[in-house]
Symmetry: C2
Subunit: 219 residues, 2 copies
């Protein structure tokens, strides 16, 4: 009896593992195709083909294309936002605030301007009329989460007297957009070729931190 | 002879006038359909139908759909950006800078969040892979022009000692995005329903001006 049960478990586990591998392959294939061809122009058949699974597997795993889009948004945004969140969370209370914020801004911007994330931002914006809840998902797991972590950090820094802030949430939004608005808006409107590179990109991050500290640092 | 020539002129003039009226009707119809259905999903036939002109007239006036898209971008952006440009240009050198900037920020934001302009921004962003030059057109006639006018104004205000600015272009970008980033990014990602209204919207404009002055006003 116990041997049979253990076999059962093994079969179920390896079934689960195979299923998880397929899920990842499907999300990966859907990401590639959605970002390359757009949401409407991509069929479940093509996704199944690229993931090398049956169309039935795609439907049984995800239900429909919109659900799969939701998983794509979650996967791509989390990949960038989870390390950003971690970096903001460990922003030290003491030390040299200016150099800490300058380092943080460079790292945040470098993560946010990854091509896949920019392409997904473009796709989510273009589909926001049809799928506003996917845009909200992007916002909440991406910029919203970063801004929330920044607000917590700024509240601590205000309590310890190094920043002078009435509304930590608003100050966090200002920090985020002072660092990111110029390059992100340039890319969104003018395409990936318009992304400032290297030193130019970092100049925007540093200028954003400079303006933020001039506005919010205690004197 | 002279009578015939005058008739010729009259016929030509009324031909030009009719042609100009048709052009406006075609651009108006194309704007409605592009913003409602997207660029690819809109046909020249539908545009001709809504404008009540022949398809041949659409082609003879605009050449192709991409050229017509260019005219749509120009018309919609100019409608918002031309008064913005005028308002920034008359920013007084003297007087009460804080209240002038607060008024200006409210007016700029109110113009930029017009539904048609937001929908066009979304459309241009979604088509920037295919038509980056239309995104650049949007940028140059819209935010780029406003930022240029702000940079000129800030340079004057720095020369007269009320602002402390090394790089007027960068300061102008910071002003623009401090005032506009929060609502515009919210709408782009989360859809038109996410647009903050009335007092909430103006709070962002005013907070942006507050941060800008804290960073850039002379002490």
């Amino acid at each position: 009896m116990s041997e049979i049960r253990s076999q059962d478990i093994e079969i179920r586990t390896s079934g689960n593992a195979r299923s998880a591998v397929k899920r990842v392959a499907i999300v990966e294939a859907a990401t590639t195709l959605f970002l390359r061809d757009g949401y409407l122009a991509t069929s479940m058949d093509e996704i199944a083909g690229l993931a090398v699974v049956s169309k039935q597997t795609v439907y049984s795993q995800f239900g429909d294309k919109e659900n799969l889009f939701r998983d794509v948004v979650t996967a791509v945004v989390d990949e960038a936002a989870t390390p950003v969140f971690a970096e903001v969370s460990i922003l030290p209370d003491g030390g040299n605030l200016e150099s800490d914020l300058r380092d943080l801004a460079s790292r945040l911007l470098a993560r946010v301007i990854q091509p896949r994330l920019l392409q997904l931002r473009r796709l989510v914006i273009s589909e926001a009329g049809r799928f506003p809840e996917l845009g909200r998902l992007f916002y909440e797991r991406g910029p919203g989460r970063t801004i929330g972590a920044l607000a917590d950090a700024f509240e601590r820094l205000a309590a310890s007297g190094v920043l002078r802030i009435d509304d930590p949430q608003l100050a966090a939004e200002h920090f985020n957009w002072l660092v990111m608005s110029i390059p992100i808006n340039r890319v969104m409107l003018c395409g990936e070729d318009a992304l400032p590179r290297g030193a130019d990109l970092n100049r925007y991050a540093q200028a954003g931190v400079g303006a933020f500290l001039a506005a919010y640092a205690s004197r």
